[in-house]
């Protein structure tokens, strides 16, 4: 088990796999598996971090506030239709949930509906959302789910391109998109409030996650609390990341992690990413059928979230087809739309499966 911690550290340090999370998670995993001392259980310090930050939901919510303070909704506001791509890519979440239930039906593994929902959220491709949902619905699977979510987010440059090439024609990949319009400051200020209002009406169970996200974004855009916004984007999110990572690491204890379920989770998580990617691309193609203003279907793949990696992958694959095709900004729209989409899905899963 300590080897897995070392492997995570190796991937983080040497391969630059989501190091901000995988260094603390990997190290925490090593600490948790030292025999003869209680670090990840009882009064151990990592278990205390877990109890105060993940059981309560505080750490992922604070991270989400920080992510909100780092997010620029400009590209999304310039082209709101990319929200459809962020919606479609969440199909990966629900397909995986079905997959987990199907595995249970076959008798290979046994997942409750809450566990299946927590596994599905890996397809949301959003770290804090996955940790928040798993912490609420299936704490005993949190280690595997977090590791899967962050690993696959790091692997997006390997996972997505083959699917993108398979589902698009050369001509589609060459589509150039018109430059995005300037978005005014007032639109950026009103948007988080608008989003929160709709959440309050339609999916209140997503309000903790999206509320903190919108709060962070409002601090950023309002322009009157820059010192709070700066601290949120730096000291506060960094401190929380360290303790969140160590706390997640406390769930990598061998007796909880080295179980057949973990293998199932890793496989299902990969499936989730693939389906999400495919659904985003296919939605983009569908939109092109219905509209005259064409979009490059590659940016549909960015709808899974995995900010900003997925957007960069879309850009890179687009450049391969057409060296003048800069999709990065266009892909940021579905990319942040994916964050919203998976937070909405998370709210529904918690409401539905948390009581079940």
């Amino acid at each position: 088990m300590i080897c897995i911690g070392v492997l995570l550290l190796y991937l983080a340090i040497s391969k630059n796999f989501e190091p901000l999370l995988l260094v603390p998670i990997g190290f925490g995993g090593i600490l948790s598996n030292i025999p003869g001392v209680d670090i990840a259980v009882g009064q151990g310090v990592l278990h205390q971090f877990y109890a105060m930050g993940i059981e309560t939901g505080i750490f992922p919510l604070v991270i989400f506030m920080g992510v909100g303070a780092m997010t620029d909704f400009g590209p999304l506001l310039a082209n709101p239709k990319t929200l459809f791509l962020g919606a479609a890519a969440q199909f990966g979440i629900f397909a995986t949930l079905m997959g987990a239930v199907a595995l249970t039906e076959t008798g290979l593994l046994e997942f409750s509906i809450a566990e299946a929902a927590a596994i599905g959220i890996i397809g949301g491709a959003d770290g804090p959302t996955a940790i928040y949902v798993a912490g609420q619905l299936a704490p005993h699977l949190l280690g595997a789910i977090a590791v899967a979510a962050y690993s696959y987010m790091a692997l997006v440059p390997l996972i997505q391109p083959p699917i993108m090439r398979l589902l698009t024609t050369e001509a589609e990949r060459k589509i150039e998109m018109t430059q995005l319009r300037e978005v005014s400051q007032i639109e950026k200020i009103v948007f988080p409030l608008l989003l929160l209002t709709l959440v309050a009406f339609f999916v209140p169970s997503a309000a903790p996650l999206l509320g903190m996200f919108c709060f962070g974004n409002l601090m950023r855009e309002s322009g009157v609390v820059d010192r709070l916004s700066d601290t949120t984007q730096n000291a506060l999110i960094n401190i929380t990341t360290i303790f969140l990572g160590l706390a997640v690491g406390s769930k990598l204890r061998a007796e909880q992690f080295l179980v057949p379920e973990t293998l199932g989770i890793l496989v299902l998580g990969m499936v989730a990413f693939c389906i999400g990617t495919a659904a985003g691309i296919l939605m983009a193609k569908l939109m092109n059928l219905l509209s005259t203003q064409k979009i490059n279907p590659l940016i549909g793949a960015a709808g899974v979230s995995a900010v900003p990696m997925a957007a960069r992958v879309a850009n890179k694959v687009g450049l391969e087809a057409n060296p003048h095709n800069f999709l990065l900004m266009h892909a940021m729209g579905p990319n942040v739309a994916g964050v919203i989409g998976s937070a909405v899905a998370a709210g529904i899963l918690i409401m539905f499966a948390g009581g079940g």
Binding site: L83, A95, L97, S184, Q185, I186, L198, G223, V344, A345
Partner: protein
């Protein structure tokens, strides 16, 4: 069909449906918001309305006084913010 499977299908239909409807509504609301704001605020230069100087009611006109005051206020804000 097992109970869990029924539940899961319900959840998928309800969940995916909500995500799609929610984001569709958000597309509409966002376009409406942008349209309204662009219509109402373009002419009047929103930055001015939105970011008043910290002391909008000062109303001083003598630039020399204003400069002296600004320096002192700036000093204090740095110390006391």
């Amino acid at each position: 069909m097992s109970d869990v499977l029924t539940q899961a299908i319900d959840l998928v239909v309800y969940g995916m449906g909500t995500v799609v409807i929610f984001l569709t509504v958000l597309v509409g609301a966002t376009m409406l918001m942008s349209y309204c704001l662009q219509t109402f605020f373009t002419a009047e230069r929103p930055e001015v309305t939105l970011r008043p100087s910290a002391a909008p009611s000062e109303g001083l006109t003598d630039p020399k006084i204003l400069a002296a005051l600004s320096a002192a206020v700036k000093k204090y804000r740095e110390d006391h913010n």
